[in-house]
C-alpha cells in the first residue's frame, strides 16, 4: 500500500495536470530513465525525487507534446549538460571505450583462464615429457633401493660436490618415499607421481655427473659453464638470500610509498566535520567546502542554510528504502538527518509519523503528520497516515473521515482510491452505531478509574524561563523506576500555561493492552519548538521527586527544574 502511494506521489506532478494520454507519460518515463539527474549520484531523472528532476520530466513531457522525438529530446539535454547527462554514453570516442572495455577484459580473462588451465592440464595430464633416458631412471631406482648410502663429505670449496650431494639427497628422498608408501601413508597415485618426479630429477643429476670426464671436475666445469662466476653452495645461498632480501626491500618500499600517498591524499582531502550535516571531504580533492558549500566566511551561524539539498534528496531515498526493507532504525536516522537540515521537510515528517505510529506512539505520530500537513496540506502519504492513525489508534472517527476525504480529493482514480473509499465507508458505518464501537483496549477494564494520574506542573522560578508560543509540554510515564526506553504513556499539551494541572488516563497509553496500574515513573518535558524529534538547547525537563508512584496517584506534582 505504501509503495503504491509513493509511486503515486512521485507521479503527482504529472497526474495533477489535465488528463494526459497515458502513452505520453510512459514515453516521458522512458526518456527520463535514460537521463542522469544532474544533482544526484547515480540516479536517473526518472527515479530522482529532486526538484530539478521533476522539472526535467515536465520539460520532456512538454517537448513530447510539441511533437519532438525521444532522440531530439535527449539531444536537447545533451546540448545543455553534455554527454554526461546520458546514463548510457554513446559509443563514440572515449565513450566507445566504456562499451568495449568490459568485453576486452572478459576476453582477456577467458584467454588467461584457458592458458592457465592448459598449462595445468599439461603438467597434470602428462607428467612424463622427460627427455631422460628410461634406463637412467631404472638405474636410479635400483641404486636408491639398493641401500647403498652415498656418503658425500661437505666439501664446500668444491662445486662438484654439490651435484653429488643433490644425488644423495634425492636417493634418500626416494627411500623415504618408499618407506612411507610401505607404511601405507601414501596413496598409490601419489606414490607413483612423487616417485616418478624424484627419479627423473635424480636421473638428470646423474646424467650431469656422468657427462663430465671426472665427476668433480665435470661438475665444476658444468657449473662454471652455466654461471659466469664459480658458484659455491655458499654464494648460491647468499645470492638467494640477496634476491629474497631485495624482494622484501622492494615490497617494503612499495608499501611505504603507497601508504605515504594514501596518507597524504587522505589528510589533504578530509577534515573534521564541522556539524552534523557537514561532509568530511574537503576542497583539495572534491571541491566541497565546509558544510558542503565552500569557504564563504560570512555563512557561519546562519541557521537552516547548511546541509545541501542534494543530501536531503539522497537521504530521503535512503530513508524510504530502509523503511521499505523494515530497517526502521536506519530509516529513523536518515529522516532525522533530513529534518536536521530542513526542519520543514514534509516527507520526512510523514515517515517519522509512520514510524512513530508503528512503534505505538500515537501522539508523536499525529504531531509529525500535522507538521507535514502544515507545510503541504495536500501531502497524500501524510493524509493517509493521519487518517488511519485517527481511525485505528485514536478512534476519532470524524477526524479520520475528514482527513481521508481530503486525501480522496487529491488522489487520481485507481485501486488505491477505491481502497480509501472503502475505509471511509467502514468509518461511516462505525460512526452510525457508536454504541458498538469496538474499543479493544478499554473493553472490560473496570479499574480504569483508578488508573488516572494527576497533579500539577510548574516551572522552577529560578530558571526564569518563559515558554514560547509554540512550545509543547510532554508528560511521559515509564513503567517501573526507569525513565529510559519506550514510554508507557505520553500526554501532549500544546501551548501550556504554567502552573498547569493535568490528569493522565488510559487514553494516553501508547501500547495497546498496557495499563497505568503498578509502579510508574512520571517525568515532564517542555519542548521549545514542539518537535519531539529535535533537542534544542533551552528545552526544560523535570520529574516527580518521589518516583516511582502507583497508578491512580493524585498530586503527582512536577517542577521543571532542568535545562536540557
Amino acid at each position: 500500500m505504501w509503495r503504491y502511494l509513493l509511486i503515486l506521489m512521485l507521479l503527482m506532478p504529472a497526474a495533477a495536470q489535465p488528463a494526459q494520454q497515458p502513452d505520453l507519460e510512459e514515453q516521458t518515463r522512458q526518456i527520463a530513465a535514460e537521463l542522469r539527474c544532474p544533482v544526484c549520484q547515480n540516479l536517473s531523472a526518472g527515479d530522482s525525487p529532486s526538484e530539478l528532476a521533476q522539472q526535467m520530466r515536465a520539460i520532456i513531457l512538454q517537448q513530447l507534446k510539441e511533437g519532438k522525438s525521444p532522440d531530439q529530446i535527449k539531444a536537447y539535454f545533451v546540448s545543455k549538460y553534455g554527454e554526461w547527462v546520458l546514463l548510457a554514453p554513446t559509443a563514440k570516442g572515449f565513450g566507445l571505450l566504456i562499451w568495449v572495455l568490459p568485453f576486452v577484459a572478459l576476453a582477456a580473462g577467458i584467454v588467461l583462464v584457458l592458458f592457465v588451465i592448459s598449462r595445468w592440464a599439461r603438467k597434470k595430464g602428462r607428467p612424463q615429457p622427460t627427455p631422460v633416458d628410461p634406463s637412467l631412471i631404472e638405474r636410479v631406482l635400483r641404486e636408491a633401493t639398493a641401500e647403498t648410502v652415498l656418503k658425500v663429505e661437505l666439501d664446500t670449496e668444491s662445486p662438484g660436490s654439490l651435484l653429488l650431494q643433490e644425488q644423495a639427497r634425492l636417493y634418500a628422498d626416494l627411500r623415504e618415499l618408499e618407506f612411507d608408501y610401505q607404511a601405507g601413508r601414501l596413496s598409490e597415485e601419489d606414490y607413483q607421481d612423487l616417485r616418478h618426479k624424484l627419479a627423473t630429477e635424480a636421473a638428470l643429476v646423474l646424467k650431469e655427473i656422468e657427462a663430465s670426464p671426472a665427476t668433480r671436475a665435470g661438475a665444476a666445469a658444468k657449473v662454471s659453464e652455466t654461471k659466469a662466476a664459480p658458484a659455491t653452495k655458499k654464494t648460491v645461498e647468499i645470492r638467494k638470500a640477496a634476491v629474497a632480501g631485495w624482494k622484501l626491500a622492494a615490497g617494503g618500499i612499495f608499501l611505504l610509498l603507497f601508504g605515504l600517498t594514501v596518507g597524504v591524499l587522505l589528510t589533504k582531502s578530509l577534515r573534521p566535520r564541522g556539524s552534523e550535516q557537514d561532509s568530511i571531504t574537503g576542497d583539495f580533492l572534491t571541491g566541497t567546502g565546509p558544510g558542503g558549500v565552500g569557504k564563504s566566511s560570512g555563512m557561519a551561524g546562519m541557521p537552516g542554510m547548511e546541509g545541501s539539498s542534494q543530501d536531503i534528496s539522497s537521504l530521503l531515498v535512503q530513508g524510504r528504502a530502509a523503511y521499505e526493507r523494515q530497517e526502521y532504525p536506519k530509516a529513523i536516522e536518515a529522516f532525522k538527518k533530513v529534518l536536521a537540515s530542513d526542519p520543514n521537510q514534509p516527507e520526512a515528517h510523514t515517515y517519522m509519523g509512520l514510524l512513530l505510529s508503528q512503534a505505538g506512539h500515537a501522539d508523536g505520530a499525529l504531531l509529525a503528520f500535522d507538521r507535514a500537513l502544515s507545510v503541504n496540506p495536500k501531502f497524500p502519504l501524510a493524509l493517509w497516515g493521519k487518517g488511519m492513525l485517527l481511525f485505528r489508534a485514536k478512534e476519532d472517527l470524524a477526524g479520520a473521515r475528514e482527513t481521508l476525504e481530503n486525501l480522496l480529493s487529491v488522489m487520481p482514480p485507481g485501486t488505491e482510491k477505491e481502497e480509501v473509499k472503502k475505509t471511509i465507508a467502514e468509518i461511516s458505518e462505525l460512526s452510525s452505531r457508536p454504541k458498538q464501537t469496538p474499543k479493544q483496549s478499554k473493553a472490560g477494564s473496570p479499574p480504569d478509574k483508578i488508573q488516572q494520574i494527576s497533579g500539577t506542573i510548574s516551572i522552577d522560578p529560578k530558571l526564569k524561563s518563559k515558554p514560547e508560543a509554540q512550545a509543547v509540554l510532554f508528560i511521559i510515564v515509564h513503567s517501573g523506576n526507569s525513565t529510559a526506553g519506550a514510554p508507557l504513556a505520553v500526554k501532549k499539551i500544546d501551548r501550556p500555561v504554567f502552573p498547569l494541572s493535568y490528569s493522565l488516563g488510559p487514553e494516553s497509553v501508547m501500547m495497546p493492552g498496557a495499563s497505568l496500574s503498578g509502579k510508574v515513573a512520571v517525568t515532564a518535558r517542555l519542548d521549545k519548538d514542539g518537535n519531539p524529534m529535535t533537542k534544542e538547547p533551552g528545552n526544560l525537563a523535570g520529574e516527580y521527586k518521589k518516583n516511582p508512584v502507583a497508578g491512580g496517584s493524585k498530586n503527582v506534582d512536577i517542577v521543571l527544574d532542568r535545562v536540557m
Binding site: 520539460i59 545533451v78 545543455k80 553534455g82 643429476v205 652455466t226 634476491v243 591524499l265 542534494q310
Partner: protein, 205 residues
C-alpha cells in the same frame, strides 16, 4: 619444497628472470590501476563540464520582480552578466554584495546584470533581494526551463554573454569582483574563455 630445492644449479638464472618477469607483470597491472584510482580521487564526481561556452545563449523570457517582462532579445547589443541564484543557497549569499557592488560600477556602461532566481518562493526571493539591496533586474524561473536551458546544476552559476549573444564564460560558484571585471571586459570584446571557472557552489535541489 623438495622439488623446488632440487635443481638449484642449472635453473638459477632462469628462475631469476622468472622472478623479474613476475615483478614486472605485477607492477604493469597494479600501477595503472592505482593511477586510475588516484586520478579518480582528484575529480569532483558532481562536477559537470558545460558544453555551452562559445555557443549562442539560449533565448529566454522572464518576468521580473517589478512585473516587467524581459527577453534575451531585449539585451542584444549589451554585454550580459546572467546570474542564477536562490535564497537558500549560501554561496549565493556570499557573493550577493560583490555582485551589487560590481553592478554599481558597471551599470552606466553597456552592461546589464540579470539575476534569475530558481527553485525558490516569491517571498524568500524578495526578502533576499531586500537583504542585500540588490538593484539590478531580477526575475524568477518558475518552471525551471531557463535553468535547464543553461545546464544549471550548482548555484550560483554565472554566464557572461557578449553583445552578439554568445556565451563567453561560465562560472560555477561564488565570484569575486576582480574576476567579474576581467570577464566582463573579455565578454565585451567577445573573447571566449577556454575553460569554465569554479568556486564554492551549492548543488541545486
Amino acid at each position: 619444497m623438495r622439488i623446488a630445492r632440487s635443481s638449484i644449479v642449472n635453473s638459477q638464472s632462469s628462475r631469476e628472470t622468472m622472478a623479474w618477469r613476475r615483478i614486472i607483470i605485477t607492477l604493469a597491472v597494479l600501477l595503472p590501476l592505482i593511477g586510475i584510482l588516484a586520478y579518480g580521487f582528484t575529480r569532483d564526481p558532481r562536477y559537470i563540464n558545460s558544453p555551452l561556452i562559445g555557443r549562442p545563449a539560449a533565448p529566454f523570457a522572464v518576468t521580473l520582480f517589478d512585473g516587467k517582462k524581459l527577453t534575451l532579445d531585449d539585451l542584444k547589443g549589451k554585454t550580459v552578466f546572467l546570474n542564477f541564484w536562490a535564497s537558500w543557497c549560501p554561496p549565493c549569499r556570499a557573493e550577493a554584495r560583490d555582485l551589487e557592488a560590481a553592478w554599481q560600477t558597471f551599470k552606466d556602461g553597456d552592461v546589464l546584470f540579470l539575476g534569475i532566481d530558481i527553485q525558490d518562493t516569491d517571498e524568500d526571493a524578495r526578502a533576499y533581494l531586500k537583504e542585500f539591496n540588490v538593484t539590478y533586474p531580477n526575475g524568477r524561473d518558475l518552471s525551471g526551463k531557463v535553468a535547464v536551458d543553461y545546464g544549471v546544476w550548482g548555484i550560483p552559476e554565472t554566464f557572461f554573454i557578449d553583445p552578439q549573444g554568445q556565451i563567453t564564460y561560465k562560472h560555477v560558484g561564488s565570484l569575486g569582483s576582480a574576476l567579474i571585471t576581467a570577464k566582463l571586459d573579455e565578454a565585451r570584446r567577445g573573447i571566449v574563455s577556454a575553460k569554465e571557472g569554479k568556486g564554492a557552489y551549492q548543488a541545486v535541489r
